[in-house]
Subunit: 324 residues, 2 copies
């Protein structure tokens, strides 16, 4: 993991070095605030690892790595407005601190800055890289809209949910890997293989996140468990619970869902107990493992040196351990 | 003006042909709604005219022309949220019809679609064209933020106002002209000359708009005059009024500004009468004419065939007549 730490340091250095300066400050400050709030930086890191894996020179693709991280933070800035989420990484969201209009506008600027960074990357494949980036950006918007649509839909099956998280979170991780490969002159098969790897670990990570929100250790996860239950968030776990509940259990669920409650602890305990009865944690864990195993299988089949595969695999395992 | 009408038809055809299709519909519908609300399409038209003027083939730059129009409509979609403007071209704004979250997200998608269209343009200068587009997009965001900042600032001088409208509206018109020139293989001097022409007519048009909001004919302009006065909008005319008012006039102004009123007609009449006393209409008209005359002078000096200059000049005069 020395290599990973080294890359993470380089990414942080690049983020600090490349502060976004312009006038008026009200527009640029939120952008820098957002970038410096921290985060695991896993998307730029996967881009660098994929680039190294195919024999590229990761030093030369730092702009593209940063572009992916800037884009990711742009989506967070706008999502926080749409989702009414007042906190981000323990700090005030941009719209809380600067107001909704500036959070919209500063996010727009951030998307433009991401494109600028992509265009600063020296590559004969700029057009293909931009096509991948734009396609991915549109898909991320589609995923967020699907997620918002789910709020007002009664029946959603778990396949629809997986398709939503594929778009909302996995495609960006996959695009980071593919972009790293393309910029390292990998052939199309290898680049697409790394993309598929990214899709599978991306979905796997999101399912782990869903499980942890309910079953995670407060000290490890850094927040009280059950937030998703309280907000009736239609995660894989809740959808599976609705699917498997018998009529008595459905009735019990309906007593809690869609209503505000003065008894948050009771609501969490009641729904969690129902999930326990239905073995939801195991079902979700199995689903998550399925995606990680498939990812592993995809990685095995790729035309990359064994030590590079090991590096990708080790980092993925390390990330998985950090969030589980 | 036959040529102009022909181009306008081609632009409308292209907008209709290129409807934005995707899933979920909630995300794509607002984009098509916005594009089909109409408008003068002056930005894509100037791009085509500039391209023709430098000897390009306007048929081949239709994607870039459309990109500029999509970008312009993206800014309108987000501006309407920021400015609390419930109507756009007489119809409900997107955020009124679909809600703020979807208006944010659909606007984001629109910005991505604009980049996609630029990238679909066949040109060896893609990198420079993208650099111009991104620089312009960032400047438009800066202009909108400055405009929002003005709302809470007491002293703004008219030079600051002109700088704000340069960023908020003129640079996009200028970039359209420059992009048309670049794509037609014009040299840098000519492309930059057309950019400067665009800056000057862009500022001129906005000053005309400001004048018309207060002094326009209701039947011609299509809305009741005085909207800017009612909302205390810091246009060139109000800022000049504040600058020139004596202390008694300032006191009168302060009785109306910054307050909601039950007597809108009285407020409009009172401030308009003060503007009349101070000759504000003439001062603003002179300022606007100064920009159009400078633009004309710039055009004269450019290395373009006389008939192409005449075409640009005629269209600008026609537009000016339409809004005055």
């Amino acid at each position: 993991m020395e290599r990973v730490k080294q890359y993470l340091n380089q990414i942080e250095t690049e983020i600090t070095r490349r502060s976004f300066i312009g006038h008026p400050a009200e527009l640029y400050d939120p952008l820098n605030y957002m970038m410096l709030l921290g985060g695991k930086r896993l998307r730029p890191l996967y881009l660098l690892l994929a680039n190294e894996a195919v024999g590229g020179n990761p030093e030369e693709v730092m702009h593209a790595a940063l572009a992916i991280e800037v884009f990711h933070n742009f989506t967070l800035m706008h999502d926080d407005i749409m989702d009414n989420a007042p906190k981000r990484r323990g700090q005030d969201s941009v719209y809380v601190r600067w107001g909704v209009p500036t959070a919209i506008l500063s996010g727009d600027l951030m998307l433009v800055e991401a494109y600028k960074l992509i265009c600063e990357t020296e590559t004969p494949k700029l057009k293909s890289v931009l096509a991948l980036f734009s396609k991915t950006a549109a898909e991320v918007c589609e995923g967020q809209q699907l997620d918002m649509n789910f709020e007002s839909q009664s029946a959603i099956d778990t396949n629809e949910y997986v398709e939503m998280i594929r778009l909302k979170t996995a495609v960006l991780l996959a695009a980071a890997l593919k972009m790293g490969a393309m910029l390292g002159e990998a052939d199309d098969t290898l680049a697409q293989g790394l993309y598929d790897y990214g899709i599978h670990i991306g979905i796997g990570f999101q399912l782990m996140d869903d499980i942890l929100d309910i079953y995670g250790d407060e000290k490890m996860v850094g927040k009280r468990p059950g937030g998703d239950i309280l907000s009736d968030k239609k995660t894989f776990l809740l959808l599976k619970t609705i699917e498997l509940a018998n009529s008595a259990q459905k009735e019990m669920l309906n007593q809690w869902l869609g209503k505000t409650t003065d008894e948050p602890d009771e609501k969490i305990a009641a729904i969690k107990s129902l999930m326990d009865d239905l073995q939801i944690r195991n079902i979700a864990l199995e689903k998550s493992h399925f995606y990680f195993e498939t990812a592993d299988h995809i990685l095995d089949g790729l035309d990359i040196a064994q030590d590079k595969k090991d590096l990708l695999r080790t980092y993925t395992l390390w990330l998985k351990a950090r969030i589980s």
